[in-house]
């Protein structure tokens, strides 16, 4: 616990200055930094870059699907942008931005000067740059990028059916992103366990820190399995092994098991930090304490644990053995219970409160409203017969976007608006923020609600065009997507203009009466290097 002792020593930043040169300015300040705040901000910029790229891909897809038989893009191009939309949104937007916000906020919330391994922290971030470049470059290859969906099921991804280098670049890119995740996971777990300020026991930590440490534990256990699966796929393609080649004694379904053993927990990797943010924001704007803190911690840990036992529900139509299907089915239903505990506790948190409808609060409330829908369709999908009916149709597209857009993205937006004044030292425009929320909320429902019906009517996912009978619902979805796009433009303008000309933010722009506020609001906006003059002592 040496790190803990160091952190507890009350020293001023002035005294430590020589050991940590701060004088760098310009580009070097960013390239050479090991400051968790700068690294966090770089994570956020990078994630939003990929969000924009993947968002444009989504707009192109909705344009192509706005009517049957259109030729906005060629079929092979559609498959490429569809695959990279998923890959970017999952691995280069949602997971990194959660890591970015956690990077910025967690050390301050626990009263530490930085992450436990600052240099490793920089490595985690910088690994994402080549990872993303591999994917982006593959788009300009003559043979195109990976085009087998973000799930990349073999044998479609074998050398025989995807001969292009795009697939290899996809595998390598994902490998690097996975390595970045694992290194970050180690760093976060060590930081939260060892660098808490004196007096801050685990059960006094802000809820966000709990969600982050549980998420990072999931990353530590799940991501190496993805890395193994990717290596097997790569050696199948490069060196003629046959892990997934049926004709040589392998089994393509093995990939699906390995992939989903990572990628189902990855859903919780993408949504638990967001739940943590919401658990900070709801109390802040309703003037109450978070309801049932200990129950929330247990529920989060429960989700993290049961989350490992449900991956088979992605594979109910593969011809899995009946007993196994029942196990995965029941485990998937059971996970609704801890998820429910969280939703009831949030509702109890705002009940009887004194609610101020600032933009972060609107997004947090929108998160609850939409996540309930994603949770309920999730229970339906746990029922094997219903799942088989709608598996690989637009119903699943609707469900996953209610979880990852309605859940993750709404909470990310809540978190970004909540901590923007802290990170930038500037205030954003509240009116534009609210317009952004309403366009997002309405556009999201218009886009994804009709997809439930498309799926129930039998429209498969991942198709570049569809039979004419699905046209009406697709018109509505594309209209919704246009509204979403407009909302995101307003968001981008609001953030950029506020960074440039926003009014300065006080240490706590959300201060309200005698609330119990987390530590990041006790320091200036943005916080000084090393965060605290003297390490705070918690009562």
């Amino acid at each position: 616990m040496e790190a803990g002792t160091i952190a507890a020593r009350p020293i001023s930043t002035h005294e430590t200055a020589p050991a940590h040169p701060k004088a760098r300015t310009g580009i070097l300040k960013w390239l050479l930094t090991t400051d968790h705040k700068l690294i966090g901000v770089m994570y956020i910029w990078l994630a939003f870059f990929f969000f924009a790229v993947a968002g444009i891909f989504a707009m192109v897809m909705r344009a192509q699907l706005s009517a049957p038989g259109l030729h906005v893009v060629a079929p092979e191009v559609y498959n490429q942008i569809m695959s990279l939309h998923g890959t970017f949104m999952v691995f280069f937007f949602t997971i990194p931005i959660m890591a970015g916000i956690a990077n910025y906020v967690v050390p301050i919330q626990i009263g530490a000067r930085d992450m436990a391994f600052p240099r490793l922290n920089a490595v985690s971030f910088w690994l994402l740059i080549p990872a993303g470049l591999f994917m982006l470059v593959s788009l300009f290859l003559k043979s195109g990028s990976a085009a087998a969906g973000w799930t990349s099921y073999p044998p479609l991804t074998s050398r025989q059916f995807s001969p292009g280098a795009g697939m290899d670049l996809w595998i390598l890119g994902l490998h690097l992103a996975g390595a970045s995740s694992i290194l970050g996971g180690i760093n976060f777990v060590v930081t939260v366990l060892n660098l808490r300020a004196p007096g801050m026991s685990m059960l006094k930590m802000p809820m966000f820190c709990w969600n982050v440490i549980i998420t990072q534990t999931i990353i530590l256990f799940a991501t190496p399995v993805l890395a193994g699966a990717l290596t097997m796929l790569l050696t199948d393609r490069m060196f003629g092994t046959a892990f997934f080649q049926a004709q040589a004694g392998g089994d393509p379904v093995l990939w699906q098991h390995l992939f989903w053993f990572y990628s189902h927990p990855a859903v919780y990797i993408m949504v638990l930090p967001g739940m943590g943010m919401v658990s900070q924001i709801l109390p802040a704007f309703s003037g109450k304490h978070l309801f049932g803190y200990k129950g929330m911690v247990l529920a989060t840990a429960g989700i993290g644990f049961i989350g490992y036992m449900v991956w088979g529900h992605h594979m109910f139509a593969t011809g899995m053995s009946p007993g196994l299907r029942q196990f995965f089915s029941f485990a998937s239903m059971v996970i609704a219970v801890p998820t429910g505990i969280k939703i009831w506790s949030w509702l109890a948190t705002i009940w009887g409160g004194s609610i101020r409808f600032k933009t972060p609060m609107l997004f947090a409330l929108g998160f609850i409203a939409l996540f309930i829908i994603g949770g309920i369709t999730g229970v339906w999908l746990a029922l094997v017969p219903f799942d088989v009916q709608v598996h690989d149709t637009y119903f699943v597209v609707a469900h996953l976007h209610y979880v990852l857009f309605g859940g993750s993205l709404m909470s990310i937006m809540a978190g970004i608006y909540y901590w923007f004044p802290k990170m930038s030292g500037k205030l954003y425009n509240e009116v534009a923020g609210k317009v952004h929320f309403w366009l997002t909320f309405i556009g999201m429902n218009l886009t994804f609600m009709p997809m439930h019906l498309m799926g129930m009517l039998g429209m498969p996912r991942r198709i570049y065009t569809y039979r004419p009978e699905f046209a009406g619902l697709n018109h509505i979805a594309s209209l919704g997507a246009a509204i979403l796009g407009l909302g995101m433009l307003i968001f981008a303008l609001n953030m950029l203009l506020s960074l440039w000309r926003g009014r300065p933010s006080p240490p706590d722009p959300w201060a309200h009466e005698d609330q119990n506020r987390t530590l990041e609001w006790t320091v200036s906006s943005p916080p000084p290097p090393e965060n605290f003059h003297t390490i705070p002592v918690m009562r």
Binding site: T318, G353, P385, F386, Q389, P460
Partner: protein
């Protein structure tokens, strides 16, 4: 402006659009017209799931809406101080858990019914190719590809599903059937169609560039027509 006035039209607009979309959707979909016993059971299970989960949906969204409308910050009205109630937490853990156990009953029954293949009258083999379906009738020695599948009404059909190249998925919504076609594996499904007619489906697992064009058409005909058709096919081969 009162928040109620601002939100209601938006909410009504959204609900109206969704309702319009639902009414405008085509008839003949499995949700409305299942044509096999399995598809009918799936629909019954879906209704049970909707009934059980609707309670929690309405309760949760209702509490959210009421809280948002009722607890807007007002000067002089301080927020409540409570933030714990173990009894309440036990209730909202136990009741959903109980609901899940109840729901698993019909789910497991239907699942068992789906996957227990009864004695079949017609056996077929379904083989996925990039990007068409090959059908075989081993009883009759008939093999063809890229044409509608023809089966007799009211007869139990057992299908063995596999693939020659990549993973495909044989999906006919009205039958309540979706089965992956994996290279190197043979999967089994069954169906017994109750009404004659033409049924549409298509491949449900991304299988390459023309995945969207890998259609399935099933003509369900009377047993007499089926016999005539199979005789012609035999001669044709």
């Amino acid at each position: 402006m009162n928040p109620r006035c601002r939100w209601t039209p938006l909410l009504l607009f959204g609900l109206g659009l969704v309702a319009a979309a639902f009414l405008a959707s085509p008839a003949g979909a499995w949700l409305l017209h299942p044509v096999t016993p399995v598809a009918r059971d799936v629909r019954a299970l879906f209704y049970k799931a909707v009934a059980i989960t609707a309670f929690f949906f309405i309760l949760a969204e209702g509490i959210l809406l009421v809280a948002v409308l009722r607890f807007r910050a007002r000067p002089g009205v301080p927020p409540a101080k409570w933030h714990e109630n173990v009894r309440l937490e036990l209730v909202w853990t136990a009741i959903p858990a109980l609901a899940m156990v109840i729901l698993s009953g019909p789910a497991f029954t239907t699942e068992k019914y789906m996957e227990t293949i009864p004695k079949s009258d017609v056996q077929i083999e379904v083989v996925g190719h990039q990007w068409f379906w090959e059908y075989r009738y081993p009883q009759y020695g008939v093999i063809f590809a890229n044409e509608p599948l023809v089966i007799p009404v009211g007869k139990t059909v057992a299908a063995n599903v596999t693939s020659i190249d990549v993973v495909h998925s044989w999906f006919v919504p009205d039958f309540g059937i979706k089965m992956d076609a994996n290279p190197g594996r043979i999967n089994h499904v069954w169906f017994n169609v109750e009404r004659t007619g033409t049924y549409q489906g298509q491949c449900a697992e991304l299988c390459g560039v023309l995945h969207a064009q890998m259609f399935i058409t099933v003509n369900v005909v009377t047993p007499e027509e089926f016999d005539r058709w199979i005789e012609q096919k035999k001669k044709g081969v």
